[in-house]
Assembly symmetry: D2
């Protein structure tokens, strides 16, 4: 494939839209949460993590989102500012919403779970009017995180952003980021994610997430080639199917296929693997690298984050990622 | 334009989807509702009215909808059965929802209003799983009424029906039927109606309804030609802009334009004008008539209904409509 | 018993508090509602009916309640004004609430049912701040209707009125008026109705309604004497247990018991029997009549209303009631 | 006053009812929460703290409450078990409710605040049917925490418990524990807290909390003597008005008054002062001590807890409290 065609002469590279929340990561791990005594606070939320990843790698990054009018909301915004991310389009909620929380439970590197607080959260209060056409047209690309589609009015805000992006030739990345607890039903997820996928340029999702989007409309095939064909026939230029620890496979609209594996590492927890991968992969596309190289870069980034205690805070620099690649190739 | 290309060899002509409710029409009219003593009960709801109109004209008609588990719900279903409409896909709500009501107030033929009961109504409880792919593929066309998009889960049920229709080459009519009280905001209306309009074959809406769909994405032009171009560039084959008592104007994807006026009549109330027009217009398209003739047929039908006390119950037969046309042409 | 001791020198006799709604009575009766063609609109709601009954009999009557900001709300207030009831403490809702509706179905005089519209109704939006201490202290008595306890904030408004009444030595009538559809559970009904009953001077309820209040706290006895003892030990001076067509039995705090029967009549429907009884009974107490005579007066009033098409509109005058008594005693 | 007359021969001394939640206490203190890095998890909720305080002092203690079906819910129950508190009447929620959270912010010992998570919390889902008459009759006393009155169905569950307690001669302690964020309005708080206060034997509340209960019914007097008279005229045997760092004043139904001060200590945070005071004070009443001595014991306990990092976990033993008293009297 030729490289993804970004509009040039835009002040921003990437605007992420969606969830901004707090991860509360267990400090005492390899035990059930009942026995965890203390938790460390980090910025969380898939698009927030990807934005941090992108900014650390050097992309000029912005965010469209909503934060609670409290200490956690302040913390989120100031963390993003510290990372050099433009927060001018992050709105403060005035309805008494709270910051979403994710308490991690790490029983072992294979047995991780999350206890979520998602009632009345600020990020899902994002409204269509909070999305500014003028802002989106200043960026080469937007990143839509599927969780932002799970509730109104955030859902409508995302559709607004999507239309503005198309109108102004802004590339659309769509990361499904399926979180069952946010949705009323898998059918609802499939319906709305399809609507975004149909108009996206790059779709990144796990096998099960693609299945969700295919489920309403016929027998499931669990077939990556069929999936790729479905979406490449719409607007997509690149479709990436993630298979967890088995790596991922990408399909491009010139008929090519790219597989990637994972880098060996000592896994502390699996959280953050997808976000670090996506951030680094997207960075690579911006550099005009081959899809192959982008995937490798993403995998190396993921291998660093899963070995760390946090997600956002552990996002690596270009040098750190390159060091992993170099180490493994020699 | 060549006639609209309906798939042949389908057991049904048209399946309407959406609102089924009760009209309570003031018997003592030309006064404020406070002074109305008695009301007469009729089947109501735009797609219900259109379905009755179509069935009386001879189309093989079905309905996808949800009714309350009470006497009004029973009445609705039995009325449709009596009209020869297939009700096999009308589901009975089990959550305690009620039947939507519309009390009409007719102060004068120009000053009509409606007092709506739309809290917890059964029609908006239609769920994706209530929509059967097998049923939709049996029809030449579906009619989507925009009000069914105003709330979840009915909204998702409509999107499901839309996708099934496209998959099986079923023609999609979209009548926006904007009712502000059903929606959270005009932005929300514009966003979701656009999504259906983009994939519809025939779009029927008033000037203000098209404006709603254009509003989110730029300065309003209030320009029928611009509107037509917008939607004909998507999937639409025919775009009709209604201008109330000033008639309507249709645009087809072969670049033609058709204007229609109204027939003289003694107006009792304006309710039902749009539905009777739509029903007769759609009937004409099924007959392979020219758009011109379809519009004339629609206008004649509307002139009969606005002179009557009810909407659904007053829907005319082919002969009654033809009689109006003949009378006015001689 | 000595007569109920009303505070004298108050400008009002009785303030009713609670439900104000619309009855839509079937005009074509003795058939299922599906076959009813037309409905006649009347003022409805138990405390509204009792207030009309009291006013027609000559009591100086007021009302504390909330009406929708629409034609039905206007109708309710203007109807009360026409009956000479003080409406200065009826507040107009500004939240978009609707007027409660009760469609009657009269299959036969024994088989009557009601189709209710109680979602988002104005009467249950009454707030504590809508209840004015200054107004309540101007009355000899208040009448609390149990349905007003079914939802917040109306529930709290009633408790406020109750405390003001006690503070200013205003007699408290409590008519349980149990409507299952308004409540979350029978337990909830029992809990809150008990709280009012404990502080009421006169309690009027059916056998099943007393059972609801006794249910949470021990095995049910279905025993009128036990019931009377329970409440007379609190604050009540008079406890009346209604047994439908079998009449009623009253207990007073001087240990006396009074039974009443019903007057022969041609029953059209049973709706309104209890409200007309209560209105006339309360009127009798204000006259200082013996409980015996009050009950007889109430029964005669009920016999008139059940023979009519409406509830509120059929409330009789003193002369009409007396005529029934005279006719039956000679 | 004679000692508070507890029913003897009951297997339990005290059953607390109400909030069970998690405190997340900032580890890095004397800074805004934005700069806090880690939090330590503790059992929280006023009645939970009091129950722990009572159990550590040796009272046979039980709890009626509801916990989330998750790791935090498990933690709460197992912590109570570890403290020797009977948890047989703690019900696990099955509706997907979460555990309430309280993140503390300790800017200085005088400037402490709490960031609450109270949406969809399990403790407020307690239902009337979760309260067992048989359990309450096994106790000498119950402790009602006012926060449990803030929402249905917990509110009704508390009223149920209150009636069972009265029926079986179980003493009622009422600690108002006002938390504005839990309530719709101060009026609502006043109304429902009054209803419990009227039937309580011992009322413990701050000056402002008593004001809330007096506000609806006349001009505020902010007068402890007037307040005491109000409630002693109802059922209360002891009314305690707390004045924060100025100590408290108790009034008993034999006309006596008791003042208490505070013990000198190095305050880390003010949270937990009231609960530790209440737990130790109640313990003293169970011992038959004079109110004077009970107050002193309560103050000494509070002085220990405010010097610690946690609330529940810091509750002292009899010996620890006595040591404070001894140290200060010599």
């Amino acid at each position: 494939m030729n490289t993804i065609p970004f509009s040039q002469d835009r002040p921003l590279d990437l605007i992420a839209i969606g969830r901004l929340c707090i991860d509360m990561n267990a400090n005492e791990i390899n035990r059930p949460m009942e026995e965890t005594l203390t938790f460390t606070k980090y910025l969380g939320g898939s698009p927030a993590n990807i934005a941090v990843a992108a900014a650390r790698l050097g992309l000029r990054t912005g965010f469209i989102g909503k934060v609670a009018n409290d200490q956690f909301g302040n913390y989120i915004t100031s963390y993003l500012v510290k990372e050099g991310i433009d927060t001018g389009n992050i709105v403060v909620d005035r309805t008494g919403a709270v910051t979403g929380l994710a308490f991690t439970e790490i029983k072992s590197s294979e047995d991780c779970s999350i206890l979520m607080y998602r009632d009345n959260v600020a990020d899902l209060k994002l409204e269509p009017k909070d999305v500014k056409e003028e802002y989106i047209r200043q960026s080469k690309a937007i990143l839509i995180s599927g969780t932002a589609l799970s509730k109104s009015p955030s859902r409508e805000a995302v559709f607004m952003a999507l239309e503005y992006a198309i109108k102004h030739n802004v590339l659309v990345f769509f990361d499904v980021d399926y979180r069952p607890y946010s949705w009323n039903s898998p059918e609802e997820t499939g319906i709305y994610c399809r609507m975004v996928a149909e108009k996206s340029d790059v779709i990144i999702a796990g096998r099960e997430e693609f299945d969700l989007m295919e489920a309403p409309f016929g027998e499931l095939r669990h077939d990556d080639w069929y999936t790729a064909e479905t979406w490449l026939r719409c607007k997509a230029k690149l479709v990436m199917v993630k298979h967890g620890s088995n790596g991922s496979i990408s399909f491009t609209n010139d008929g090519k296929t790219f597989r990637s594996g994972t880098y060996p590492t000592i896994v502390v927890k699996t959280f953050g693997a997808g976000d670090s991968f996506a951030g680094a992969f997207i960075y690579g596309l911006f550099q005009g690298w081959s899809v192959d190289r982008c995937q490798k870069f993403g995998s190396a980034s993921a291998s660093i984050v899963v070995a760390s205690h946090s997600c956002s805070d552990a996002m690596p620099t270009v040098e750190q990622i390159q060091a992993v690649i170099d180490r493994n190739e020699n």
